[in-house]
Amino acid sequence: MHRQFSLQPFSRHYSHSTNPFLDFLEIETNPDESPKPPKITATPSKYEDLLEVLTAYKSVQQAGVLHTLTFVTIDDYLWLLRAVSQELSVLGRNVLYYLAAAVSDFFLPREKMVRPYSLTVDNL
């Protein structure tokens, strides 16, 4: 379970802000002007690193050993944690909980939240 938009295993090597994946791609146009769409290939200098990460990623995907869930608010987190724990209970002693998320030490009940001003858009 991780916060939405956090870096994740494998894809963390190609973050959209520090290592944008589009910089690793090249467009190969067809010289003979055939109707086939152009091909996308990996930049040769980055190919080896990409292949290593990609191979590990595909291996984990194929084995089905990684499952990810996202949360944003503390409410999301608590509801998810409770529900996931209930599902994991069928595994008995074959489960380890490693709860390292930095969740808030407070929450505001929904009935005490304020509703911000309403925006009115008439002149678009």
Partner: protein
Amino acid sequence: MTTPVSDGSLFSAESYFGTQPPPQTLDHDIASVRSFVHRQRDLGRKVVLVTVSAASSVLSLPAYMSLSQEWWDNCPVGAQRVSIVVSRLPGLFTKAHSFPPATSRVRFLDNFSAGGSLARASIVSSRFLNGLSCRRPARYSRCNIRRVLP
């Protein structure tokens, strides 16, 4: 069961889950977890639940944007309407570290095979590389759009 907290009051898990609404995607998320857990159990594997990164504390309900009937009738429909509305949202609705437009539509590693070939779905990426599709992703906005009836 109740637990004392710092201000001397008591926190009750039963009360919390009884009064706070669950996330809208909870059932969908848990269905995928159930499938995953049962598969691991059938294969005799052990499972580790890891939770990382920080959760946000929500201090206010979502803002609403009111649209008049006249505007609604005269505005383009579909994605173009949503695009216009979202483009007028003030900066406070733009979440930090959101995906920039061009990278918002593709999960990078999902579109390649280990042999280096490109999946058919990635043809989409060649379109936005050519600048044909570059629209601000509406689904990451936390603003609800409400129609105002006359």
